[in-house]
């Protein structure tokens, strides 16, 4: 499954990057005479309500989804790792403050707070990334804090402390490297989550705005043509499901390899 996940993700990344070379149509060009035409030998995924090539838009949407995923996961994992390791290793008031903030943010179902933030900040790609990152770091911080509490008691960390290493040095040189495997698993699974969340926000009209191609926006507009042109809905949805599945397979496989308890399950 890990290999299948890796292959799916690699193919998706390649197709997203090589999109313009693979499809001879621009995602924004409108062939109005052919609007809502189903899949043909020329337009493999058919055309949408404005006569745009659905395959070209799915590939362009892949770039948006992957970019959102990478930025959101990158920012969330970095902020979460720093705050979590500081809270776990330093302890005391700093830990108390960060932990209370984590508790409060965890009291909101993740996507709900993103919906709320985008609703007040305004719907666009930057605000989607901002909203998803400002919630995303919490999961990483909680994970890293827990791991740091264990790492701080390990002998090599105690030895570093005894040798006079500063707390900042111990956190950056010992604690953070020790928690990185767990963070990388969470980040892989988080890519799938971020892609789903961006698509959900765009579907609700709170994310990427037209004419920028986004899988969620394509699904939203496709709903009006479910009966006469289901292909407009089917292909972007399939793209989301397959890419998220790929990241989930990959993340699950990595977790199993890093956790000896689950080997054989």
């Amino acid at each position: 499954m890990t290999r299948a996940g890796g292959i799916i993700v690699a193919v998706a990344v390649l197709m997203a990057l090589a999109g313009p070379l693979l499809v001879p149509f621009d995602p924004a060009t409108q062939y109005l005479a052919l609007r809502l035409e189903g899949p043909t030998a020329v337009h493999w995924f058919g055309l949408d309500e404005l006569g745009r090539d659905v395959l070209a838009r799915v590939l362009a949407g892949a770039r948006i989804s992957l970019m959102v995923g990478i930025v959101v996961v990158g920012v969330s994992a970095s902020v979460g790792t720093v705050l979590g390791s500081v809270a776990g290793y330093f302890g005391g008031r700093l830990d108390e403050m960060i932990s209370r903030l984590i508790d409060i943010l965890l009291a909101f179902p993740g996507l709900l707070l993103a919906i709320a933030l985008v609703a007040v900040l305004g719907p666009n790609l930057t605000n989607v990334v901002l909203a998803l990152s400002s919630i995303g770091w919490v999961g990483y911080a909680r994970l890293v804090r827990g791991q740091s509490l264990q790492v701080r008691e390990l002998e090599y960390v105690l030895a570093a402390r005894a040798a006079g290493a500063t707390r900042v040095r111990i956190v950056t040189r010992h604690v953070i490297p020790a928690v990185l495997p767990a963070v990388s698993v969470q980040a892989t699974l988080g890519m799938g989550g971020a892609i789903l969340s961006e698509a959900a926000l765009s579907f609700l009209g709170l994310g990427v705005q037209p004419p920028t191609p986004s899988w969620g926006t394509m699904l939203s507009y496709g709903r009006a043509h479910l009966l006469d042109a289901p292909h407009v809905t089917i292909f972007p949805g399939l793209a989301i499901a397959v890419l998220v599945l790929g990241f989930n397979f990959l993340g699950d496989g990595l977790r199993d390899r890093l956790d000896p308890k689950t080997i054989g399950d």
């Binding site: 409060i104 009291a107 909101f108 709900l112 007040v120 609700l204 499901a241």
Partner: protein, 332 residues
């Protein structure tokens, strides 16, 4: 037999009743501590919801009324919402209103927000509970089958289906179900509310992802239980793997499964926002999205607050139930 006699004897003696008393005292102390810890979280939730209106770029009153609104209308709204008062006064008034159940008035209809939300709560809860029933109904057999026939085709198919369930967005599954069962087959209505038939497609669409998570959890906890000595002993006495799973391991694996179902309630509520929009289900989620498009921020705040508080309450209830079922949690 010996054990039963010993227990009966022990139950007549003093130390057992005092042990029970101590246990209940421990439960009471745990409940009190857990309830007390919820207070700052709720205060934090309220503060965040209060802050929402203040992170609107520019003048919130202008944003609500739109660019074309006259300055007198904007000033009037600012005064009506109390935005012209100092921030601490606004905050105190907001918290005071919450304690009285007063969430302000809708900018669009002028109705109290609490009334609007109260009218929509039953529909959302109906949908959420139906989705959870669907999820558990699908997930338990799937998880059990995967554990019984571990590392066989059944296991692989069940777990791949579960992984697909987590990956398929409900805003895609919903329309697909509507095409197949509503339009092509004509079996079920594709929008609105009413009888049970209206509930089926939204509940299946919303429950899909939860079913996948619960199925994976059921399989994992069952496999964990199967490693326990009491199951090994049953197997040594000749119990089949199927009976070891169903007759022995399943009951003990239910506690973590119930916990996961409870903790996933928040995801179900958030998913309901999307599902209600797809199926025109008249719940709080649809009200939230409609209010966002009308920039009716008091209603947006009310909906977010209600969903978050419900989420906190369900998580608290799950935690408490777990602590009653599993004494080790209290000791931690």
């Amino acid at each position: 037999m010996h054990v039963r006699i010993a227990l009966r004897f022990y139950s007549r003696t003093g130390p057992r009743s005092s042990t029970i008393g101590t246990q209940w005292a421990a439960v009471g102390a745990f409940l009190a501590r857990r309830l007390l810890l919820t207070v700052p979280v709720l205060l934090g939730v309220a503060t965040l919801v209060f802050s929402l209106i203040h992170v609107i770029p520019g003048d919130p009153a202008q944003a609500m009324l739109g660019e074309t609104a006259s300055s007198s209308d904007v000033a009037d709204l600012r005064q009506r919402l109390g935005l012209d008062r100092p921030l601490p006064v606004q905050y105190a008034a907001f918290l005071g209103g919450l304690l009285r159940g007063d969430l302000g008035r809708s900018l669009r209809t002028g109705e109290p927000v609490s009334t609007q939300i109260a009218e929509r709560i039953p529909a959302t809860f109906e949908l959420a509970i139906a989705a959870m029933i669907v999820a558990v109904g699908v997930a338990l057999p799937l998880g059990i089958a995967a554990a019984v026939w571990r590392r066989t085709l059944v296991d692989h198919v069940a777990m791949t289906a579960a992984m697909a369930g987590v990956s398929i967005p409900n805003f895609w599954l919903g329309p697909l179900l509507a095409i197949v069962f509503g339009v092509e087959l004509g079996w079920l209505p594709v929008s609105g509310s009413g009888g049970l038939e209206h509930l089926v497609l939204p509940a299946v669409s919303l429950g899909g992802a939860l079913a996948a998570i619960v199925a994976r959890m059921t399989r994992a906890t069952l496999l964990e239980e199967l490693r326990q000595p009491y199951v090994q002993a049953a197997r040594a006495r000749g119990a089949s793997r199927t009976w070891a799973v169903i007759g022995h391991a399943f009951r003990n694996s239910l506690v973590p499964v119930v916990t996961i179902v409870g903790l996933q309630f928040g995801a179900v509520l958030t998913g309901a926002v999307i599902t209600e929009t797809i199926f025109s289900w008249p719940g709080v989620g649809r009200l939230l999205i409609q209010s966002i498009s009308f920039r009716d921020y008091p209603v947006v705040q009310g909906c977010i607050l209600l969903i978050a508080v419900t989420y906190v309450a369900v998580n608290l209830a799950t935690d408490l139930l777990y602590s009653v079922l599993d004494p080790r949690i209290r000791l931690e």
